[in-house]
């Protein structure tokens, strides 16, 4: 029965890892969209004439903003998004590695289960070494 229990915990952990993975992928895609939008804005700001007034939308109002300030704002935002992308990227790799490991662990448990089923009742007497979950 301990094999069954281990299979259950391992598979629920695997499912959790898969959910984490899809969350991280989603976050990565969102960041990509933000990055390209901010890059477009930066490109737009780069070709502004000095007499083009820049406004920033804050809630329902538009507030006049210094061109240089707006430019540096976009620049810091880009830096932030890039560092976020790096962070999510390492997170993604981490989760992928973990879920690979879980997958092999699952396979091992299933193989052990099958063996135990073949040997029927005598297998119940010898407890397997528990792998730290």
């Amino acid at each position: 029965m301990s094999l069954q229990a281990r299979l259950q915990t391992a598979s629920s952990e695997y499912q959790k890892l898969q959910a984490d993975l899809s969350n991280a992928v989603e976050a990565r895609q969102r960041l990509d969209a933000q990055l390209s939008e901010n890059e477009l804005v930066k490109k737009e700001f780069a070709q502004l004439a000095p007499d083009n007034v820049v406004y920033k939308q804050i809630g329902p109002v538009l507030v006049k903003q210094d061109q240089a300030e707006a430019k540096s704002n976009v620049e810091t935002r880009l830096g932030f998004i890039r560092s976020e992308i790096k962070r999510v990227e390492t997170q993604l790799q981490d989760i992928q590695l973990k879920s690979e490991n879980k997958k092999t662990e699952l396979g091992e448990i299933q193989a052990a289960l099958q063996q135990a089923a073949q040997q029927s009742s005598p297998a119940a007497g010898t407890p397997l070494p528990s792998i730290g979950a």
């Binding site: 939008e37 901010n38 477009l40 804005v41 737009e44 700001f45 502004l48 004439a49 083009n52 007034v53 820049v54 406004y55 920033k56 939308q57 804050i58 538009l62 707006a70 976009v74 935002r77």
Partner: protein
């Protein structure tokens, strides 16, 4: 592209696996065609903006317009400065531009989307080809197992 390594071994797959690959490809194709339609809509919006900017001629100064407050509520207003417009450049920033600059901005946007649409169209075509190939292959396999 993810489908390249699959394409190599695709002849070794059995019918149900082929169906699975085909389902995946169809999902991707769906996503791509949705994106294509979205881009088309965005392009149409930008085009309309450019045309509207062209309508703000100097001759229309002082003319009355109806300003929409909501979709169904309008208030009358007068056009005091048709030479300048505020352009939404994204991420909450607006830029005051001259009419001519705004038109250039919008036609650049339309052009930018057009190039994207072109690459997207190519990708969609390739995906369709892959799906067609898979359908042929599935049918061939079915015939083979039937005879």
């Amino acid at each position: 592209m993810m489908s390249q390594p699959q394409q190599v071994s695709v002849t070794d797959l059995d019918v149900s696996q082929l169906a699975e690959v085909r389902r995946q490809l169809e999902e991707e194709l769906n996503h791509l065609t949705n994106s294509f339609a979205q881009l088309k809509r965005a392009q149409a919006t930008f085009k309309a903006c450019g045309e509207n900017a062209a309508e703000l001629k100097a001759a229309n100064t002082g003319r009355t317009v109806l300003v929409p407050l909501t979709n169904s509520l309008y208030v009358p207003g007068t056009l005091s400065d048709p030479a300048h417009v505020l352009v939404d450049v994204g991420t909450g920033y607006f830029v005051r531009k001259t009419r001519e600059q705004a038109r250039e901005h919008y036609s650049a946007k339309v052009e930018y989307i057009r190039t994207n649409l072109g690459t997207l169209e190519d990708t969609i075509g390739k995906k369709r080809e892959n799906i067609g190939y898979l359908v042929d292959l599935t049918q061939a396999k079915l015939r083979q197992s039937a005879s």
